[in-house]
């Protein structure tokens, strides 16, 4: 019953895209429609999770001679729930959208949501790839909504290149999955499941899926596009790109590696994801401390969180290969819970960043500051989101990272000194990433939302208007629920664990505690929250009872700095710490090694009148080791093609003859086998 309705929602969303393209833009209709349909979709997927069951249907369109197949099970329902919840919040936020530029994104927004839902609902390779590519293309169009700016165009070009790379990996991957079937080509997942790949074919599927979907999710070293492209889109779209789209890519990884490839895969299958995940977590979190743009910070931290989720998936694959299904369930539970919570709080943070950009007139950290005074509700929502970003208890991100840590701490059971040492290093790297994430959260809040305003425009910022405010408050409330009752969210995830790793976590998950094993003490989020509340309340009451009431106001002490001059009513804004200065100790210690960060001081000689200059350059390692060789190879290929053009006719004819003979030899070889 729910599946046809979900399919109808996809069709309706795609239809809304057409409405958005018709001449006078009907913004409220399109965004309101998106919000409404997504809300219905969220209720339906929640219902599917509460009453688990699998359903399939086929639609007689698609490739000639084949119909499209749709299905939902407990795994896709989790991701559908996340998608529809974040999409409805983003659409409600967009009701407050403004400016003609954002209407350029209008036709693509509903298509984007519909395409993501389609790839989650797909039950055959064609539908999945169709939805995935439609998702890439529609979001690419929205990345380009400010096409007049060069940075936007560059980001769009890089994004399109990466999307093409994803497709070039994923299409052969699904092709390899469906070869080896006798008779007619059957692309349905049920048929693929019946004949899981083995040997070299399985290895190729693993590599191609991890590269293709990993590039879309932003795993290091294929993450270079993400901190550029995600911030370039309008805020409500960036929110969905970071919150939901990266999760769709992770869904594809989980679907293929756990479901379609069957349970009989070797232990080492998890290592590529584990290594890429750890690198993403550390590099993403470090970059989140270096970026100077509010939305770039958030995008870099998406790389970090995707890394955490990939670590969980990789660990679950390793544990499954070692026949430790309870450990696999623990790791996968952490990964799925982190996907859910990160989706919600990152959407909230991007919406908040959009509100700050609109209210404060800029999204560059160095041009913001003091928004807490003018935008208290937005700041409150950002604080809630940043508690998640920093993974502090009892916030939304803590329970999932706690589960991931528990899985890593239990992993040495698998055995082998190499693997055990690797787990110890992994635990240290995860802690490093978590601490870097906390530093990034403090930097983001402290520079953009606290302190003194750095421009007159920020000093007169306006609070977000009603629909945007409600969208943010709703998500903040959801963050609170996820943080205080992770057991409830895990209850929704549990059927998927039973489906994928055949383990039963029901005895370890309660509304009050989450335990790493059935009879071990665990993490009691409500208890910790109550403890904090009692302690804070007691301190508050004690102060009320015993301390003097009231307070006085005065200029900041700052070790006796002079009062600000009359022409700078808030003091000189550059005398406070900014984004670059906050990051300086980390940049010097970790940035020089990992990001090739260099500081250059240009100090004029005594007597010269020019100003001194200080500049910082940093370069992502993936840039140096991936993009540079690609560019170099392209140059070489162009040179070769160029020289072909100027061959004499005799040589050209002989080249053609050789190529023809080669092709014939290949055809003959295929015929013979």
């Amino acid at each position: 019953m729910a599946l046809p309705l979900l399919a109808a929602i996809v069709v309706a969303l795609l239809g809304l895209g057409v409405v958005g393209a018709v001449a006078p833009p009907r913004k409220n209709l399109v965004h309101g429609g998106c919000a409404g349909f997504s809300a219905v979709g969220a209720v339906l997927s929640l219902g599917l999770l509460l009453a688990p069951g699998a359903a399939t249907m086929s639609v007689p369109i698609g490739l000639p001679g084949m119909s499209m197949h749709l299905a939902v099970d407990s795994l896709s329902a989790i991701f559908l729930l996340l998608l529809f919840v974040t999409a409805s919040a983003a659409a409600i936020f967009a009701l407050d959208a403004h400016g003609d530029e954002e209407t350029r994104a209008l036709p693509f927004f509903p298509v984007f949501i519909g395409a993501m839902a389609l790839s989650l609902l797909a039950a055959d390779s064609f539908s999945l790839l169709f939805g995935f590519e439609l998702m890439s293309l529609s979001s690419w169009a929205m990345v380009l909504y400010r096409h007049t700016e060069e940075t936007s165009r560059d980001a769009g070009l890089l994004y399109l290149g990466m999307a093409a790379f994803s497709a070039a990996c994923l299409i052969p991957a699904f092709g390899l999955l469906s070869t080896g079937l006798s008779g007619d080509i059957d692309l349905r997942f049920a048929a693929l499941r019946a004949l899981p790949p083995e040997g070299w074919r399985a290895v190729f599927v693993l590599v191609l899926v991890v590269l293709g979907a990993g590039a879309k999710a932003g795993l290091v070293p294929l993450h270079v596009w993400l901190p550029l492209a995600h911030p370039a889109a309008p805020s409500h779209v960036s929110a969905l790109m970071s919150g939901a789209m990266t999760k769709v890519a992770l869904y594809v990884i989980i679907r293929v590696l756990f479901d379609l490839c069957g349970p009989a895969q070797p232990l080492w299958w998890g290592f590529p994801l584990l290594v890429m995940g750890a690198a993403s977590a550390v590099l993403g979190a470090l970059r989140a401390n270096m970026e100077s743009d509010l939305k770039s910070v958030l995008a870099a931290s998406t790389v970090e969180n995707v890394g955490f989720i990939a670590i969980g998936i990789g660990l679950a694959l390793i544990a499954r290969g070692a026949d430790l299904s309870s450990l696999a369930a623990l790791a996968l539970a952490g990964a799925l819970l982190h996907a859910l919570t990160h989706g919600v709080f990152k959407t909230l943070l991007f919406l908040g960043a959009g509100a700050a950009q609109h209210g404060g007139g800029s999204r560059v950290l160095q041009r913001l500051g003091g928004l807490v005074h003018r935008m208290p509700i937005t700041t409150l929502c950002m604080i809630v989101g940043c508690v998640g970003l920093a993974a502090l208890p009892p916030g939304p991100g803590f329970a999932s990272e706690w589960l991931l840590f528990q899985a890593v701490l239990a992993a040495p059971r698998i055995g082998g000194l190499g693997l055990q040492t690797m787990m110890a290093v992994l635990a240290a790297l995860m802690a490093l990433a978590a601490a870097l994430g906390a530093a990034a959260a403090v930097r983001l809040l402290g520079v953009a939302f606290l302190g003194r305003p750095r421009t007159p425009r920020v000093a007169a910022a306006e609070e977000a208007r009603a629909p945007a405010r409600w969208a943010m408050l709703g998500l903040a409330g959801l963050c609170g629920v996820l943080g205080l009752f992770p057991g409830l969210a895990l209850g929704l995830i549990e059927p998927a664990l039973r489906l994928l790793v055949r383990a039963d976590l029901s005895r370890q998950i309660g509304p009050l505690t989450v335990q790493p094993a059935a009879d071990m003490p665990g993490y009691g989020a409500p208890m910790i929250a109550a403890l904090l509340l009692v302690a804070g309340g007691a301190a508050f009451l004690a102060i009320r009872r015993w301390a003097v009431p009231g307070h006085r106001r005065g200029p900041a002490w700052a070790c006796g700095f002079a009062a600000p001059p009359a022409w700078l009513p808030f003091g000189d804004p550059v005398t406070q710490y900014g984004g670059a200065s906050f990051a300086q100790p980390l940049r010097r210690a970790l940035g020089t090694a990992l990001l090739a960060a260099r500081e250059r001081v240009d100090m004029p000689r005594p007597g010269e009148t020019r100003p001194a200059r200080f500049s910082v350059t940093a370069r992502d390692p993936a840039d140096a080791f991936l993009s540079a060789p690609i560019g170099w190879t392209r140059e070489k290929l162009v040179d070769i093609a160029d020289s072909m053009q100027f061959l004499t006719i005799r040589r050209l004819l002989s080249v053609m003859f050789v190529v023809l003979v080669l092709f014939l030899a290949v055809v003959a070889g295929i015929e013979a086998s």
Partner: protein, 318 residues
């Protein structure tokens, strides 16, 4: 009956921790002064300071927002919650089942985050420098702390501090080389997390060397009292943590009421010895440059990793 004694032990433990924290600071200051040949302040001076500050209205800086005013409460509440979870004189207290080491690390992180935000809130250079350095130090300290937790978890099979401390108390885990390495790593982390010499100087009045003191520079009056109580409590939490793991002698089970006095006495002795060692260490060493702290904590990280590898090699889990 067992539940009530566990609850009673818990309440007594919290009261003991809250009361003893400022005394601990007083004791360290006193010993340091004596070692330097000064007479030093009385033992209860920190308590007197807190009461004096509580009677004073705070002067809020012009740009201070609600974050600045809420931060002392959040910070103290998080530290107190961590203090409730770290055992002192008894094991198996009412909150024992939730006293997870990762949660304790998280709660201390929450306290740190709240203070760091407060440092950024007024918008002065000193607040910013303090916040930036505090968060940077935590980036180096957390991985080392996690490796300590990793090794303890390998030994005890759980991240729960109560379970770990009980197993160590019963002597079920024996004496291991890894524990020694872990002890050194944990001591190093504790020095950094509490802003003690050589990482930071709690008594400094030279602006450019301040980390923690720079963050809370704008606080005054009763807000400062909360901050100081929180700082003192944090130090006691770390010392109790070290004592609970590495010197499990004399700790009473929470249901054996008659063993409590011995537990309290042994806890006081242990904390006093640790305080004495800390004061002697701080007197004998100079503060290091901020940019050398990564090397200092890198040693802790390596020791933590070595401890884990030793354990893998020595036990049968290979």
């Amino acid at each position: 009956m067992i539940f009530f004694s566990a609850l009673l032990a818990q309440l007594l433990h919290v009261a003991l921790m809250l009361a003893a924290a400022p005394v601990l600071i007083g004791a360290i200051r006193l010993v340091k002064a004596r070692l330097l040949g000064r007479r030093g302040p009385p033992l209860l001076q920190p308590w007197r300071d807190i009461f004096r500050l509580l009677r004073k209205q705070p002067v809020l800086a012009d740009g201070a927002s609600i974050v600045f005013r809420a931060a002392p409460f959040v910070s103290l509440a998080a530290t107190a919650a961590a203090a409730a979870l770290v055992p002192s004189f008894a094991l198996g207290m009412a909150l024992g089942p939730v006293s997870d080491l990762l949660v304790i690390a998280g709660l201390l992180g929450l306290a740190r985050g709240a203070t760091a935000l407060a440092g950024m809130d007024v918008g002065t250079a000193f607040g910013g420098i303090g916040s930036s350095r505090e968060m940077t130090f935590s980036v180096y300290a957390e991985p080392a702390f996690l490796l300590v937790i990793f090794t303890l978890t390998l030994l005890a099979g759980s991240t729960n501090l109560d379970v770990i401390a009980t197993l160590l108390h019963d002597g079920a885990l024996g004496l291991r080389a890894s524990l020694g390495l872990v002890l050194v790593a944990l001591l190093t982390v504790a020095l950094a997390e509490n802003g003690r010499i050589p990482v930071d100087n709690p008594a400094t009045h030279l602006e450019l060397t301040m980390v923690h003191e720079a963050m809370v520079l704008e606080y005054s009056g009763r807000d400062l009292a909360l901050i100081e109580a929180g700082t003192a409590l944090k130090l006691l939490v770390w010392l109790s943590l070290i004592a609970a793991i590495f010197t499990p002698i004399g700790v009473a089970p929470s249901f054996a009421l008659l063993a409590w006095p011995l537990g309290v006495a042994s806890w006081i002795v242990k904390i006093s010895l640790l305080a004495l060692a800390l004061a002697a260490f701080e007197t004998s060493i100079a503060k290091m440059r901020v940019f050398r702290v990564p090397e200092f904590l890198g040693i802790a990280l390596l020791l933590g990793l070595l401890a884990a590898v030793f354990l893998f090699v020595s036990t049968g889990i290979v």
